[in-house]
């Protein structure tokens, strides 16, 4: 049986694609799934750092595609979970070093062997995005509850709908305090605009930064609230019905924008 290939994308940079990929990878591996994380950000690879695996890289994705090595030679086994692997990006090549067709072939090969192929998509909507999306059959879009990432997420959802259908959404870095004060878009604001299925909400948490720097994804820390949020998201991906805590606060931030002209 062939595994699921899921691309994790956002349009905007810095909203947490790589962090989410690492956490979902670890979380799915904890549940006993065979998982490979593919770093699609050729030229700006980060996933290896977040995973704390940078010193184990020998070959990378471009080597595989160019036939300079076998897929299994390039796969880096995680130090905590033997059923979790990383296929690192090349740091020295450009996005144009591979084509969507090559990515499709590679993904097809990987899903023969793994239950989950998680593809970490680069920011932007250019070649890197097209490559990352090419082999996937599902997409998870990440956004933070801010106006410009939401707009970029909207753009990406529009592009994905042509090929993959409706993606699922993770809202990252939600601050319950700011939502309560009405200073941040709340869950409903974001969903009103993006109109896709919500997969989960990850609260703002400085543990994420610490975990990233240490190379140990936050989901490993069962006491952190963001780690717990990722754990719930993983269970939802596996088909469990886990309720999503509300982050709605009082009133909508959006409704306070866009009042104008002469209204009678």
């Amino acid at each position: 049986m062939s595994g699921r290939a899921i691309v994790i994308t956002s349009g905007k940079g810095g909203v947490g694609k790589t962090t989410a990929t690492a956490n979902l990878g670890v979380g799915l591996a904890k549940h006993g799934c065979k998982v490979v994380m593919v770093d699609g950000d050729i030229g700006l690879r980060n996933l290896d750092i977040i995973m704390g695996l940078e010193n184990r890289i020998v070959y990378h994705l471009v080597d595989v595609v160019r036939g300079r090595c076998q897929v299994r030679q390039a796969l880096v086994k995680d130090k905590r979970f033997p059923n979790l692997c990383l296929l690192p990006a090349s740091q020295v090549d450009q996005k144009e070093a591979i084509t969507p067709e090559q990515m499709r072939d590679l993904t097809a090969q990987l899903r023969e062997e793994f239950d989950f192929v998680l593809i970490d998509c680069p920011a932007g909507i250019e070649q890197g995005f097209r490559n990352a999306v090419a082999g996937a059959d599902e997409a998870i879009v990440i956004t933070t509850p801010d106006v410009s990432p939401v707009r970029d997420a909207d753009r990406v959802i529009g592009l994905l709908q042509n090929s993959l259908g409706d993606p699922q959404l993770i809202i990252n870095r939600m601050s319950p305090e700011m939502v309560k004060r009405g200073d941040m878009l709340n869950q409903q604001d974001v969903l009103d605009i993006l109109a896709v299925r919500l997969l989960g909400i990850v609260p703002e948490d400085e543990e994420v930064v610490i975990a990233g720097n240490r190379g140990a994804p936050v989901i490993l820390n069962e006491r952190s609230r963001s780690g717990q949020a990722y754990a719930r998201i993983v269970r939802r991906i596996l088909g469990e019905d886990v309720p999503i805590p509300e982050f709605n606060g009082n009133g909508s931030f959006l409704n306070r924008l866009g009042r104008f002209f002469l209204r009678r």
């Binding site: 106006v147 707009r151 970029d152 909207d154 753009r155 959802i157 529009g158 592009l159 709908q161 009103d192 605009i193 109109a195 009133g251 909508s252 959006l254 409704n255 306070r256 924008l257 866009g258 009042r259 104008f260 002209f261 002469l262 209204r263 009678r264």
Partner: protein, 256 residues
């Protein structure tokens, strides 16, 4: 052959909406020239052999003795299958007589493609082409583009008539309509109704919260100072006293 001069003169006038056609070439009508507001419109008989049509046009224009020079002409081919040589021959004659080609109306796909590739805008029908030029009322009797989906950031719909969209128009999305724009959903993106200069066009949305709105030559901008909340309600935007005004819409399309 009859020339109704007073009608022809109105081609350059702005006031007269339309005037009836005038020139027919030859015994059996090979083509007709109609004086429409957009300019003299050549209605070609799409059954007659095109060589004869061209010949008739050439003779007619020669008789008109430079009358059509610098007129913005519209060419209506009907369902004729036009080939490149025929088109080139016709174009040469029209150019020689100084006609400025605005657009063509053709229904046959290969003709449409040919004309498009030759750099001439192609439209479906004269009626559709005229619609955007005419003023009110924009709601009745004109054609509309009906869409049932969300327009997301980066997506754009352009249509020369009215646009009806069931869904949301998000920030970063755009609708450009020659007539009205009706959104059964939340309008957050940019809508330009009555493009480019129809100030009679309206924008109606169930939740009208764009940061910018354009109707004909007018642009309205969100008031950045104002910050009060309000529940969504259907609203209508239109031009009044040289500015865009938004009012609650209760299903009564009237101009107070």
């Amino acid at each position: 052959m009859i020339f109704l001069l007073q009608h022809i003169v109105s081609w350059s006038g702005v006031e007269t909406p339309e005037c009836e056609g005038i020139v027919s070439g030859g015994g059996e009508e090979l083509f007709t020239i109609k004086g429409l507001k957009g300019g003299p419109t050549f209605l070609f008989n799409d059954k007659a052999p095109f060589a004869e049509v061209i010949k008739a046009v050439e003779e007619e224009l020669a008789r008109a003795n430079g009358f059509f020079r610098d007129s913005p002409a519209i060419l209506a081919f009907g369902s004729r299958v036009l080939n490149k040589e025929e088109w080139r021959a016709l174009k040469e004659i029209l150019h020689r007589e100084g006609l400025l080609l605005r657009y063509a109306v053709a229904t046959e796909p290969t003709s449409r493609e040919l004309l498009y590739k030759e750099g001439l805008p192609v439209r479906d029908s004269l009626a559709a082409a005229q619609e955007t030029k005419k003023g009110p009322p924009t709601i009745k009797g004109s054609n509309a583009l009906y869409l049932r989906r969300n327009l997301r950031s980066g997506q754009k719909e352009v249509f020369e008539g009215n646009v009806v969209l069931v869904g949301d128009v998000n920030q970063g999305a755009e609708i450009l309509a020659g007539g009205d724009a009706i959104v059964f959903g939340t309008l957050r993106g940019v809508v330009h109704a009555g493009y480019p200069d129809n100030r009679e066009a309206v924008v109606i949305a169930l939740n009208l919260v764009p940061l910018q709105l354009r109707i004909g030559p007018f642009i309205g901008r969100a008031d950045e100072g104002q910050n009060h909340r309000r529940p969504p309600q259907p609203e209508i935007a239109r031009v009044k006293d040289e500015r865009i005004v938004i009012e609650p819409y209760h299903g009564d399309y009237r101009r107070p």
